[in-house]
Amino acid sequence: MDTVEIIVTLVGVALAGFVLWYFFFSARQTASAVSSVSGVQEVDITVKGGYSPDVIEVERGKPVQLSFYRDEENSCSEELLMPDFHIRRDLPAFKTTLVELLPQQAGTFPFTCGMGLLRGSLVVK
């Protein structure tokens, strides 16, 4: 092994480690819902290459209103899926789409894009 090979190997392994850590183990952006005057838990979510925030905490038994603003045209994020709530919605680009639901059970419910690559979750307490 020459020096270049050693450098390439070390950089490669470090890069691979970084990718794994960055996508799987780093901290997520969590947000709690804000309850409005009418008792509805409202959350604004921006969709741009992912969901931000992507972990949303809400309380059980109170209606939840999620406003998804899709800030891009890229086709991957055009569909929103919340399988536990039977929701499939088209998110038009640069528009806000409202999704209402009533969480009855506590737990963590994922929401994803149509192909399951972009991921977020609704944590019901």
Binding site: T9, Y22, V40, G49, S75, L98, E100, M115, L117
Partner: protein, 757 residues
């Protein structure tokens, strides 16, 4: 200060469920000056009483907008069809843009490819300045990268910032690496030469990959729009206008959104029924195939329900509106199908897990591929080989096929099911129906019609059949008893002449009497004749006993104080039941019957329809228990029922099929609702689920195979054995085809037609 209240009506846009309506209502109620706000979700209208001194229509609108909804200014037109049209328009626009980007990339790639080949041609090499050629190629590749491929890079960057990786990440990193390497070789070739490397460029690779992937996306988008075609057709059935009769009697065409509960609507021959209601006058045959899948038109008369979007054939009638907007049958079907399409099948779970970790894992594999090739390949070719294989791994590993495998099949098949009157509640129901090996039928209402019909008409000796039927029908037309209705239906089917009846009297628990053509006619049970002192001749009594042993209800008829004949009434087997049961059995399913009737009746019906196993004398509360009993034998049970009392059994079964549009309770408990009232729907539902799950399995198999073979080959695993390497351009071609082939396979479900017996 005194002010008059003013009332304003706003058309609200964007409400998707009842809770939306309460959001708007609350927001309006909080607005200063508003005394009362009412929002109707079904009609999408808000009615607001307000003080003009404190509020204006503009501030009211603002309140609605603040709640996150829109107000339509004029021409209220927010039907599902229009919302769909707007989304469609946006998609069509995106499709046009995508096509343009593809053609730019394809056109430039077609120029770049032959120019790159020049290098392989020694004679040309000597005449052309390599340096200049490379700069030329760079200029040609830039538009491909910056115009056609821009979305990949922005999307990958956005995803990276959100710690999410999508398929664009792979394409962006792959083509980006090839491009940056080529750029370095073009701008600083000396750096490569001084290290004993030929400064090779990969502009053709970059441009071709982008062109091919865009081609894949174009084909994918085109196919994807077809997956929801059935659904769109369903939404498109909604009528646009209704001809409403105003209190003055004048008829007026109004937009469907303005039709209100209680309106009287006229439907003429050949017109669509505007919304749900009850017929007040007139009669007609209505084609309800769009809702029930039943191709024969249904006879309708005063008192019968009609449904929006169905087609009036022959007659003309007026109906009273009972449901509008989201409450109509069509809207509920659309909602149910949409819900099903938003659900995920358990079979998809593994694919979901793989999808979630897919992209970062592939990036890691690609990096390790690069390192290994760099370390193991001969020193003079290690950099290009490592690069080419790195790019190939990234490009071939497309998770689209995996992600599209299940949802596209579910989209097509739930839409297709609705077309045939089979409403699937969710993807899980579809999967359960596929696994079923036993079908439990509740006799009444599923195998049989669930309403009495005349099976035997026996005139006593010396009686003229036609005349007797005329007399009987004349009396029974006056009666409201269900058995009387069966007699009248029979008489009408036999085209018996009508006669006027006078002095009609119903005798509680026994029957009825009236005078027809001057003769006293009695119809009822044996006690009625007994109490009238009429003696039954022996022959008649024997015939009555024969009917009773067949578990039929017997009506006795007396004319002018003499026993005149018998009528046997029973719940009859539907015309389609025998064929459908045979079809289910030939599909390898065991069909079991359950009934509240006595064992003799049960045995007779079972024999008639070809069922060998049945449960008799099952009390309504015991139905769920029978399902459990079968499940305890290790069977996977589909329960078919129609009534409210079937709900616990429908819920207990592995999959419940509620029949005949079903009551709401039965529908709630059932995984599948059959709009058609016959067993053919059960065949269609199970057949459809089998085809769908088969398609999903094929899709998943293909997607997993594609990735599990594609990635190692691209990484160069076959190189040591066969000397094979996968060109990144080939990888791009395979990737473009993978999702398209999964989609095409799912779209084959559009050709599903239920097998007719």
């Amino acid at each position: 200060m005194e002010t008059d209240l003013k009332t304003e009506t706003l058309d609200i846009e964007g409400m998707t469920c009842a809770s939306c309506a309460s959001f708007v209502e609350k927001s309006l109620a909080r607005t200063p000056g508003v005394q009362r706000a009412m929002v109707n979700f079904a009609t999408e209208k808000a009615t607001i009483d307000y003080l003009p001194a404190q509020a204006t229509p503009a501030t009211l609108r603002q309140a609605v907008v603040q709640a996150g909804y829109g107000v339509l200014e004029r021409a209220p037109d927010t039907s599902a069809a229009d919302r769909q049209a707007e989304i469609d328009q946006q998609k069509a626009h995106a499709y046009q843009q995508l096509r343009r980007r593809f053609w730019v990339a394809a056109g430039l790639a077609l120029i770049i490819m032959p120019l790159s080949m020049l290098m392989l041609w020694p004679a040309a090499m000597q005449r052309i300045n390599m340096q200049w050629l490379n700069y030329g190629l760079l200029l040609l590749t830039l538009p491909v990268l910056l115009y056609s491929g821009r979305e990949f890079y922005t999307s990958a960057w956005n995803g990276f910032r959100h710690r999410a990786a999508n398929m664009d990440t792979l394409i962006a990193v792959g083509t980006g690496a090839a491009f940056l390497y080529s750029l370095a070789a073009t701008v600083v070739p000396e750096f490569f030469r001084s290290r004993g490397l030929t400064p090779e460029v990969y502009y053709d690779t970059t441009a071709t990959i982008i062109a091919l992937i865009l081609l894949g996306k174009v084909l994918e988008l085109r196919a994807k729009t077809q997956t929801s075609a059935a659904m769109k057709a369903l939404i498109g059935l909604q009528a646009k206008t209704a001809r409403v009769v105003r209190p003055g009697g004048q008829e007026l065409d109004v937009p469907i959104e303005q039709v209100q509960l209680g309106d009287l609507v006229v439907v003429r021959p050949g017109e669509k029924v505007a919304t749900d209601g009850l017929i007040e006058e007139g009669h007609s045959a209505v084609d309800e195939a769009m809702l029930t899948g039943e191709s024969l038109p249904v006879e309708k008369k005063a008192g019968d329900p009609v449904f929006g979007a169905t087609l009036n054939k022959t007659g003309s009638f007026r109906f009273r509106v009972t449901k509008v907007g989201a409450d109509t049958m069509l809207a509920q079907i659309v909602k149910l199908v949409e819900d099903a399409q938003g659900s995920r099948a358990p079979i998809q779970r593994l694919a979901d897990k793989v999808s979630a970790i897919f992209v970062p894992t592939v990036v890691v594999i690609a990096i390790l591929t690069f390192v290994l090739w760099f370390d193991l390949a001969p020193i003079e070719t290690r950099l290009p080989l490592a690069l080419v294989n790195f790019v190939a791994v990234l490009i071939i590993a497309c998770p689209c096929a995996l992600g599209l495998a299940t949802p596209t099949a579910i989209m097509v098949s739930t839409g297709k099911g609705a077309e045939h009157g089979v409403l699937i509640r969710n993807a899980e129901a579809l999967e359960k129906a596929y696994q079923v090996n036993t079908v439990l039928l509740d006799k009444t209402g599923t195998i049989t019609r669930g309403e009495p019909a005349v099976t035997d008409f026996v005139p006593a000796a010396g009686q003229d059949a036609a005349r007797l039927l005329q007399l009987v029908a004349a009396v029974e037309r006056q009666s409201e008893h269900p058995l009387a209705a069966a007699v009248v239906r029979y008489a009408e089917a036999q085209q018996a002449a009508s006669a006027p009846a006078t002095g009609f009297r119903a005798i509680e628990g026994q029957g009825a009497e009236a005078t027809v053509n001057g003769q006293a006619v009695l119809i009822g049970n044996s006690r009625l004749l007994d109490e009238a002192g009429i003696v039954l001749p022996v022959a008649v009594r024997q015939q009555a006993d024969a009917l009773l042993t067949q578990a039929k209800t017997v009506l006795y008829v007396a004319v002018a104080g003499q026993a005149a004949g018998l009528i046997g009434v029973a719940d009859t087997v539907r015309d389609t039941s025998v064929a459908a049961i045979r079809r289910l059995q030939s599909m390898g399913l065991e069909v079991v019957m359950m009934t509240g009737d006595n064992p003799q009746t049960a045995a007779q019906v079972a024999r008639q329809v070809g069922i060998t196993r049945y449960f008799a004398e099952v009390l309504p509360g015991g139905k769920a228990g029978k399902v459990k009993e079968l499940q305890a034998e290790g069977r996977i049970v589909a329960m078919v029922g129609d009534g409210i009392n079937d709900a616990p059994a429908l819920a207990q079964a592995d999959i419940g099929l509620a029949m005949g549009g079903g009551t709401d309770v039965a529908m709630e408990a059932a995984g599948i609702t059959l709009m058609r009232s016959d067993l053919q729907g059960v065949v269609t539902a199970i057949e459809l689920s089998r085809q769908t799950i088969r398609t999903i399995k094929q899709n998943l198999f293909f997607a997993f195979l594609y990735n599990s073979l594609g990635i190692p080959i691209a990484a160069g695993l076959l190189y040591p054995v066969f000397g094979w390497l996968l060109s990144p351009m080939l990888a791009a071609g395979a990737m473009a085809l993978s999702s398209v082939s999964v989609l095409t396979n799912s779209l084959r479900l559009r050709g599903f037609t239920p097998l007719k017996p």
